[in-house]
């Protein structure tokens, strides 16, 4: 008998969501995790559970994202009960601001394309400056309008990760904090080894973020990925003033204001740079001028886990059918779908046709 039904490689938000989902279904599960020195998107995340704007030109991704956002309400409650941790999840709808007529025009056409492609399942509103002022009177004179979707929400990503760890362990899951060195397959059993552990399982799920690409060939997979840096600024805490998450600014349950949404290709550098921080702060103050009264107390860079086309990768090895790979840059938004849906696909032993478009075979050179 193997030690486990499933071994998940990677203890970030994606790996822990799948592992929690598997334990929830009664699968005996272990997670190998590199530990807190890992380059971990899960601890640098902005914390949006975000739908609007995702999956333009890819209806499957838009569907999957909406599906997860729907599941989140129930999932968030369950996770809180299971872990005893308040993960500060709320879904009040979110805004994306446009600061020029060109931005507003482009956003309007993107949202309309998304609504068309989702056959009415994506609900949103485009707001001009006048109607936006009625909802958010504090916007600055530069703001031309915004898109709003009631499907958007936010959560504390650090507490989410913590809650997943606690809930996973409370269901009987084992967390093994060591880097995986090798994975082998023999006689229908995978053997996963690190410096001091050698564990066996019937199935393996690779969810090691940017580390997946290196391990994938051991499972007959490729999982091509690259890092994309985002920088985040955090202000001193202030009394609640913003009831909605937005794509650039959100106030946490603790009162801090997070500012972010930059995209840079700088390899594995998790640092910050004054130019990007300036631009983020400037845009935030253009949106809500009174933010300039708050001091910045922290800033960091974190690396998104990007596939060549930006969409998630879900696949099953043809060489070793018990081996799966799962990676995406929206681990928080997709956490509910990973825990509730993806885990059940692993239990079934096969990915459904609805995830076919996310196969890494789309990157193979023909």
């Amino acid at each position: 008998m193997p030690d486990y039904d499933v071994i998940v490689v990677g203890g970030g938000t994606v790996g822990m969501s799948i592992a929690y989902g598997l334990e929830r279904l009664g699968k005996k599960t272990a997670v190998f995790d590199q530990g807190d020195d890992a380059i971990r998107a899960a601890v640098g995340n902005f914390g949006l559970v975000w739908v609007q704007g995702k999956g333009i030109g890819s209806p499957e991704y838009a569907d999957w994202t909406r599906r997860s956002a729907e599941l989140w309400e129930q999932y968030g409650k369950e996770l809180q009960e299971q872990s005893g941790i308040d993960i500060a999840y709320s879904r009040s709808g979110g805004f994306h601001f446009c600061l020029s007529d060109e931005e507003l025009e482009s956003r309007t056409s993107q949202m309309s394309q998304l609504a068309e492609e989702s056959e009415g399942d994506f609900s949103y509103e485009m707001l001009d400056r006048h109607s936006l002022l009625e909802r958010l009177p504090a916007i600055g004179p530069e703001v031309k309008g915004a898109s709003y979707s009631p499907l958007d929400g936010h959560v504390n990503p650090l507490l989410l990760l913590r809650a997943l760890h606690v809930a996973f362990k409370s269901k009987g899951g084992d967390l093994l904090v060591e880097s995986v060195l090798d994975i082998t397959f023999d006689d229908s059993v995978f053997t996963v080894s690190s410096t001091s552990y050698v564990k066996t399982a019937t199935q393996v799920v690779l969810a090691a973020g940017l580390g997946s690409e290196k391990l994938a060939p051991k499972l007959g997979l490729t999982t091509p990925l690259y890092p994309q840096r985002g920088q985040i600024l955090v202000t001193e805490k202030t009394a609640p003033f913003l009831d909605y998450p937005t794509s650039l600014i959100r106030q946490t349950g603790d009162g801090s204001v997070l500012l972010g949404d930059s995209h840079e290709d700088v390899g594995f550098d998790t640092g910050t740079s004054s130019g990007v921080m300036h631009d983020i702060a400037q845009r935030a103050c253009d949106i809500f001028p009174y933010l300039e009264k708050l001091r910045i107390v922290r800033a960091w860079g974190a690396l998104r886990i990007m596939s060549p086309d930006g969409l998630p990768i879900y696949d099953q090895s043809t060489q070793y059918p018990g081996a799966f790979t799962a990676t995406c840059h929206s681990g928080v938004t997709l956490s509910a779908a990973h825990a509730l849906d993806f885990a059940s696909f692993i239990r079934e032993g096969e990915l459904p046709f609805s995830l076919e478009k996310f196969s890494e075979r789309r990157f193979y050179v023909h």
Binding site: P137, A138, G140, P141, E236, K237, T238, A239, F241, G255, P289, Y290, L291, K293, L294, R295
Partner: protein
């Protein structure tokens, strides 16, 4: 409670504390100037509402936080008094207030 250490001629400036005009010595930090003027309570904590007064006077304890010229969370022991400065107690959480008429030009 406090003894002034001075030599030579003392210059003074005028500040406002909670709407009251105070004449204080030039060159002092805000916390020292207020203590010298007899102010005992500075902030109230956001968590329990307890009253606080400066403790460390060197920028680490954050018990001297005040609202100075409209800015919350100012460490008053690290800021020098200036002519006309308007100072208020910070009671509870820091806030940023939106003033519609001022900011939208209405």
């Amino acid at each position: 409670m406090f003894t002034k250490v001075t030599s030579g001629e003392v210059q003074t400036i005028t500040i406002q504390f909670e709407g009251e005009t105070l004449v204080v010595r030039k060159g002092l930090n805000v916390a020292a100037a207020l203590l010298e003027a007899g102010v005992k309570q500075f902030r109230e904590t956001p968590v329990s509402g307890q009253a606080r007064t400066p403790f460390c006077m060197m920028g680490v304890c954050f018990d001297c936080l005040l609202i100075i010229d409209g800015m919350h969370n100012q460490q008053s022991c690290m800021i020098e008094v200036a002519e006309g400065m308007k100072i208020e107690r910070q009671l509870g959480m820091a806030t940023i207030e939106f003033n519609a008429s001022a900011e939208q030009g209405l």
